[in-house]
């Protein structure tokens, strides 16, 4: 399965954070590449969503849902700066 990109997570992230998150910046902890969430390589065919660095494959974001409860890890955003609402 080829990855999609961060645009595919726009709906669920907008739902969880109350704002568009695809323009939020990140810095890859593996290779220091910087970019915005929309550019991440996103895999959605598994039981959860995994976003990886386009250059070095390091995991940047993980999202799982169970009965309406979401769990999100953001290893690619050690100092998250939320975009304005």
């Amino acid at each position: 399965m080829e990855p999609l990109d961060g645009n595919a997570m726009a709906g669920v992230l907008r739902d969880l954070f109350g704002r568009d998150m695809t323009t939020m910046g990140y810095e890859c902890p593996g290779c220091r590449r910087t970019g915005v969430v929309a550019e991440m390589a996103v895999y959605m065919s598994g039981p959860g969503t995994v976003a990886r660095c386009r250059d070095c494959d390091t995991i940047l974001l993980m999202l799982t849902e169970r009965r309406g409860m979401y769990c999100i890890d953001l290893p690619g955003m050690p100092q998250p700066v939320l975009p304005p609402v």
């Binding site: 399965m1 080829e2 990855p3 999609l4 990109d5 961060g6 645009n7 595919a8 726009a10 709906g11 669920v12 907008r14 739902d15 969880l16 109350g18 568009d20 695809t22 323009t23 915005v36 969430v37 929309a38 550019e39 975009p83």
Partner: protein
């Protein structure tokens, strides 16, 4: 606290199908009447949710095909044979049916006049959908930004919005190139191959024009187009991309 947090969430809403338009044998545009539509920006998408009788739910994202200025919200959907959602939307959905969705969403792959240009829009297959919204918006607001478009499709029959693209090409500011990768008609005078740097160079803008580029299509198509433009010397920060899982081009 709990209630305030919930109110801020993006809610699911319902649209009523006003009409469906066959674009190609596998692709339909679904026109929706939506009460209290909040408006959108060209390039955004919505998440469509289907619920089975047993309560099982699944959702997919579809680009908005209409301009913000159009009377109704519409999406254009390509039928994927192994899809969970698109076969229902393309084959089963009828006028008067209701469709559950949330949106609009996405703030990255959008174009407004303020962002300027010149614009280079590169579409593979149904990747033309959000770019069509941008072109309609461009026309609706009378934008003076010059636009070049490169569309790749397998054949003329499978080229989505074929007639509309022809009409748009009559606009002095809009220049449209088309490549047919599988079955070009014998008389076809456009390109007859998959996109490559030479084609991107001929159909797009010189690097010194510093174009703003939007590329949408299946993942492999987008990678080829984006890498080709960067290799030609274009600034990667002026290239916005959107990838989807679909059939090839």
């Amino acid at each position: 606290m709990e209630r305030a947090a919930l109110l801020r969430r993006l809610t699911w809403q319902t649209g009523t199908v006003i009409s469906t338009i066959s674009e190609t044998p596998r692709v339909k545009t679904i026109v929706l009447a939506v009460a209290d539509w909040s408006g959108h920006r060209a390039g955004q998408h919505i998440d469509v949710r289907l619920t089975a009788p047993d309560g099982y739910q699944t959702e997919r994202s579809y680009s908005i095909a209409s301009a913000p200025e159009d009377d109704h919200l519409s999406i254009t959907v390509e039928r994927l044979d192994d899809g969970e959602v698109s076969p229902y939307l393309v084959d089963e959905l009828r006028e008067g049916d209701e469709l559950e969705f949330r949106g609009p969403v996405g703030g990255h792959f959008v174009w407004d006049d303020d962002l300027g240009g010149p614009l280079f829009l590169v579409a593979g297959g149904s990747g033309v959908v959000p770019l069509r919204a941008m072109l309609r918006h461009h026309q609706a607001i009378g934008s003076k930004v010059p636009v070049r478009v490169l569309c790749s499709a397998r054949s003329l029959e499978l080229l989505i919005y074929r007639d509309e693209l022809k009409e748009l090409a009559a606009d002095d500011l809009i220049d449209i190139s088309i490549t047919l990768t599988r079955e070009p008609p014998r008389s076809w005078r456009g390109y007859r191959r998959r996109i490559d740097p030479a084609m991107l160079s001929t159909t797009g803008w010189a690097t010194r024009k510093e174009p703003l580029t939007y590329i949408c299509g299946p993942t492999a198509f987008v990678e080829t187009a984006a890498a080709g433009l960067v290799a030609l010397g274009h600034d990667a920060r002026r290239i916005r991309t959107e990838r989807f899982g679909g059939t090839g081009v």
